[in-house]
């Protein structure tokens, strides 16, 4: 089976146990939401899969290969990462920023090939930022920047994408745009995992949810199963209102439980 699988990972950071034997399964072609309250270990789980934080235990498997056996550059071709609030430190043009996504496919001396340029243009189209190609990223609005960084992530052409809160601090239209784009990516066969705080989006867009609570997986499965009143009460301490207009399900937290 094609998937990115992290098995029983435990991580300790600064004396605190952040993850406790959490297993995370990201199948190819699915949009998986990683949800949980602040401090549940969502970002750490993503960083552990990417090898940014040392794990006490756990195994990582990509399709049939052990991730530990993959050299850094090979891993980079297969898993793309969109960092939380991803910064751009220099006033680069949009096109050049997106081109950085091709880094894993190039040696230090190569410049952009035709194949790379094609991938870059396609990603900018998908993320709706091709018209911004000559602008400097530092002059863009938050929503435009998010689309550029999404295009940068897509440009890697990886089989798996891990996006850490890609829609935080975006207006509703941009949130929808980014989620639609990630959903389309999953439909085309890419395994996409998004760290989400908005439970409504988690319910509507994701094929599968993983609910982390205090470093462990509290629930995993279809959005309807995972977002049960009991789980939400336990993990988030909230009660939610739900309704269904026949085509789409909605969910809004409206009260803290005591």
């Amino acid at each position: 089976m094609s998937n990115l699988f992290a098995e029983n990972i435990s991580v300790r950071l600064g004396g605190a146990q952040i993850l406790k034997e959490a297993s995370i399964d990201l199948p190819a072609g699915k949009l998986v939401g990683l949800i949980g309250p602040n401090g549940a270990g969502k970002s750490t789980a993503v960083k552990a899969i990417l090898g940014f934080v040392a794990v006490q235990q756990g195994r990582f498997r990509l399709d049939e290969t052990d991730l530990a056996e993959l050299p850094l550059q090979e891993r980079a071709k297969k898993i793309a990462y969109m960092a939380q609030g991803a910064p751009v430190h220099w006033p680069l043009t949009v096109e050049r920023t997106v081109e950085l996504g091709r880094t894993p496919h190039m040696n230090p001396w190569q410049s952009i090939s035709v194949k790379d340029a094609t991938a870059v243009a396609a990603s900018m189209k998908k993320a709706d930022c091709i018209h911004l190609r000559d602008r400097l990223v530092t002059t863009l609005s938050g929503g435009e920047r998010a689309r550029v960084l999404l295009a940068r992530t897509l440009a890697v052409g990886a089989g798996y994408i891990l996006a850490d809160e890609p829609i935080a601090s975006l207006d509703p239209a941009h949130q929808l745009q980014v989620m639609e784009c990630l959903k389309a990516e999953a439909k085309s066969g890419v395994g996409v995992m998004v760290v989400l705080h908005d439970l409504g989006y988690a319910l509507r867009y994701c094929d599968k949810l993983i609910l982390l609570y205090e470093g462990s997986v509290l629930a995993e499965g279809s959005p309807a199963e995972v977002l049960s009143p009991e789980n939400l009460k336990r993990a988030f301490g909230v009660e939610v209102a739900r309704w269904d207009d026949g085509a789409t399900q909605y969910l809004v937290p409206h009260k803290m439980t005591q």
Partner: protein, 335 residues
């Protein structure tokens, strides 16, 4: 023309190399004895051993080569450190090696060994720079954060500066105090092939370590985590640049004294032409650094005031206004 250079990094490189070649030639012609081009090439290539050949081969040639190597080192490491630290205000001095080499030099002057051999000062400076490099590696390898690196650099720098003050405080005579101050102002005067032999190998090793880091620095524009996710070994990149800078700048300062501003200003100058992409800045910054150093060295030979103009002074006098101008010109896009 400017617009063309702005789009094409290689065109800028070609223009800079041409300017550098002209500047190097000028540097060969001017001095206490001014030569014509014919006299210069004769002295350089003919096998004669007259006074002119000695001036050109033993004095001007090492001075030109050393100046270009030093300028290239300071320009390149300035651009590399600004990229690594993602801070346009970084310069090669931040890692503390410059101040440490200065400490070594004043110790040599204080102890009087400078009077025994011309090589004593650069040898002491080099030894202190290498010690500082070693301490820096020890302090900053405990964790991988950029902050630790900067703090370690500031710590080493402060310690070395304190050492310099202490030595100056106890300086035996006004003469030795003057020697110390003049050394700190930097100069390429009377440098020989011995200086080149001492500093050259360390400078070249430093360059080799830093070659090919452009791709990693570009990726680092997106943050360390994202760079890592793009297949860049960020830790390795950091050590290559820090160790490369420490070795090449330590060696440079040992033979030229503390010449400031090149590492800070040159990358900004290059940005004005080809934009902010850190990897693209490296090579043109090296060439522009060599050019600026060569030009400044020519200016030190102008008969202004009494006594010799020092290289570091010329550089600061040109560098500071240039820096202010460039900052005002580019501040819009820096936001």
């Amino acid at each position: 023309m400017i617009a063309y250079l702005t789009r094409k990094p290689w065109a800028l490189n070609v223009a800079l190399v041409v300017a550098l070649a002209l500047a190097a030639l000028l540097s060969g012609l001017f001095g206490q004895v001014t030569l014509s081009i014919g006299q210069f090439t004769d002295a350089l290539f003919a096998s004669g051993n007259d006074g002119m050949s000695i001036i050109v081969r033993e004095l001007r040639l090492p001075r030109i080569i050393l100046g270009m190597m030093a300028g290239a080192t300071l320009g390149y490491t300035g651009a590399a450190l600004q990229g690594l630290l993602r801070n346009p205000l970084a310069d090669p001095g931040v890692i503390g090696v410059t101040a440490s080499a200065g400490f070594g030099a004043v110790v040599a002057i204080y102890m009087g060994v400078a009077a025994v051999s011309a090589m004593a000062v650069p040898l002491f400076a080099m030894a202190f720079a290498l010690m500082a490099t070693f301490v820096l590696m020890m302090l900053a390898s405990r964790d991988s954060s950029v902050l630790t690196l900067i703090l370690a650099g500031i710590g080493i720098s402060s310690l070395a500066t304190a050492g310099v003050s202490l030595v100056m405080n106890f300086a035996a005579s006004p003469m030795s105090l003057q020697d110390m101050v003049l050394w700190m102002l930097g100069s390429l005067e009377n440098r020989t092939f011995d200086d080149l032999l001492l500093a050259g190998p360390f400078i070249v090793i430093g360059w080799i370590l830093m070659i090919g880091t452009g791709q990693g620095l570009n990726a680092l524009s997106l943050g360390a985590d994202t760079a890592q996710s793009l297949g860049i070994d960020v830790k390795r990149l950091r050590w290559r640049i820090v160790l490369g800078t420490a070795l090449s700048v330590g060696a440079t300062v040992s033979v030229c004294g503390a010449v400031g501003f090149i590492g800070l200003v040159v990358p900004h100058f290059v940005r004005a032409f080809i934009g902010h992409e850190p990897g693209r800045l490296l090579l043109p910054s090296a060439i522009a650094g060599a050019l600026l150093m060569t030009l400044a060295d020519i200016l030190t030979r102008l008969p202004i005031g009494h006594g010799q103009l020092r290289l570091g002074v010329v550089m600061a006098v040109i560098g500071a206004p240039m820096f202010i101008y460039i900052i005002f010109k580019t501040r819009e896009s820096m936001r």
